[in-house]
C-alpha cells in the first residue's frame, strides 16, 4: 500500500507495439508523449478558438488569452527591447507549453512532462541553439566577442575559458532548475499523501492525526501552483535575457 513516491515519474508505453524504429531503437507512444500532445493541442486550440477579432467586449476566455499575450509581450519588451518582439511566437509557445505542462502535472493521476530531464533539456537546448543561430546571423564571427571581457591580454587566457564554460552552463542550469523544481514538488506531495494513508489506516487516536499531513498537503499543493507558474516565468524570462545578449552583445561588466 505504501506507494513509491518516484513511481509517478516512470515513463511507460501506452501502446504495446512500437510506433516505428529509429536507428535500431524502438520508439513507443508513452504516457509522456500523450501528455505532450494533450498540452499542445488543448492550449493551442484554447488560445485560438476563444479569440474572435472584432468583438468589442471580450468574453472571459478571450480576456485570458489576451492577458497572456500581453504578459509575455511586456516581458519580452522589457528585457530585449523592440527588436526582440520578432521572437514573440517562439517565447510565447515556450511559456505556454511549460506553464500548461506544469499545471497538467498537478491534476491528480496525471503525468508531469516537465519533471523529465530529457524534455527540459531538449527545450533548453532549443533555446541555446536559437541564441547561437541568432547571434551568428546578427554579428557573424563578431558574436565570439561575447566571450572576450575587457581585460589585459594575459588575463584573457584565463577569462575566455571561464566565459565559455559559463555560457555552456546555461542550458544545464536552465533545464535542471525546471526539472528539479517539478520533481521535488511532486515527490513531496506523494510522500505526504503516503503519510495521510498510513496514519489513517493506523486506527484509534492516530487516525485523527492524519488531518495534519492532509492540511500540509493542501498548503504544498497551493505552493506548487505558484511554483508551476513561477518556473514557467523564470524559464521564459531567462530565454529573453539570453536572446537579448545575442541580439545586442551587451557585455555584463
Amino acid at each position: 500500500m505504501a506507494s513509491n513516491p518516484m513511481e509517478q515519474f516512470t515513463v511507460k508505453p501506452l501502446i504495446e507495439a512500437p510506433l516505428f524504429e529509429l536507428g535500431g531503437h524502438p520508439i513507443y507512444f508513452t504516457n509522456q508523449a500523450l501528455l505532450m500532445v494533450l498540452v499542445t493541442v488543448l492550449s493551442a486550440s484554447f488560445l485560438t478558438l476563444v479569440v474572435k477579432p472584432g468583438r468589442l467586449v471580450p468574453t472571459r476566455g478571450q480576456s485570458v488569452a489576451e492577458l497572456s499575450y500581453k504578459f509575455v509581450g511586456d516581458m519580452i519588451h522589457s528585457t530585449t527591447g523592440a527588436d526582440g518582439m520578432k521572437f514573440f511566437p517562439f517565447i510565447f509557445t515556450l511559456f505556454i507549453f511549460v506553464l500548461c505542462s506544469n499545471f497538467f502535472g498537478l491534476i491528480p493521476g496525471g503525468f508531469t512532462v516537465t519533471s523529465q530531464i530529457a524534455v527540459t533539456f531538449a527545450l533548453a537546448a532549443l533555446v541555446m541553439l536559437t541564441v547561437l543561430g541568432v547571434g551568428f546571423a546578427r554579428h557573424g564571427i563578431g558574436f565570439l566577442k561575447l566571450f572576450v571581457p575587457h581585460a589585459p591580454w594575459y588575463l584573457l587566457i584565463l577569462l575566455i575559458p571561464i566565459e565559455v564554460i559559463s555560457f555552456l552552463t546555461r542550458p544545464i542550469s536552465l533545464s535542471v532548475r525546471l526539472f528539479a523544481n517539478m520533481l521535488a514538488g511532486h515527490t513531496m506531495l506523494v510522500v505526504f499523501a503516503g503519510f495521510v494513508v498510513s496514519l489513517g489506516a493506523a486506527g484509534g487516536l492516530l487516525s485523527g492525526l492524519a488531518v495534519a499531513p492532509l492540511l500540509l498537503m493542501v498548503g504544498i499543493f497551493l505552493l506548487e501552483l505558484l511554483v508551476a507558474f513561477l518556473q514557467a516565468y523564470v524559464f521564459s524570462v531567462l530565454t529573453c535575457i539570453y536572446l537579448n545578449e545575442a541580439l545586442h552583445l551587451h557585455d555584463h561588466h
Binding site: L67, F71, D74, L158, P161, I162, E163, I165, S166, L168, T169, I172, S173, V176, R177, A180, N181, L226, F229, L230, Y233, V234, I241, H252
Partner: protein, 109 residues
Amino acid sequence: MAPDPDRLRDLGSRLDKLQATQAARYKKPPPSQLGIAGRFATELVAALIVGGGLGWGIDWLFGRFLFNTFPVFMLVFVVLGAAAGILNVMRAAKEINAEIARARSDEEK
C-alpha cells in the same frame, strides 16, 4: 448618434489608470528566498559539471590522438568551472538585485 468625445476621453483616462494598477499587480512575481537559493546552487553545480566534463573530453582527445594527459586538463577545467560558477552566481545576484529594485520602485508608484 456620435458618442460624446468628452465622455470617451474620460473613459480612456479611467481605463489607463485602472490598467496601470492592474499591471503592477500581475507583473513581476517577487523572487522567493527558496528560489534564489535554488538558483545559486544549480548555477554552481552546473558550472562544475560543465568544466569537469569539458576537461575530461580534452583529456580523452589527447589520450586518443597524442599522449595520455589524464587528469591534467580535467583538474584545470574543474577549477575553471568553479570560477565560472562563481561568475554565474554573481551575475544572477546582480539580476535578482535589479529585479528587487524594480519591484520596489513599482510599489512606490
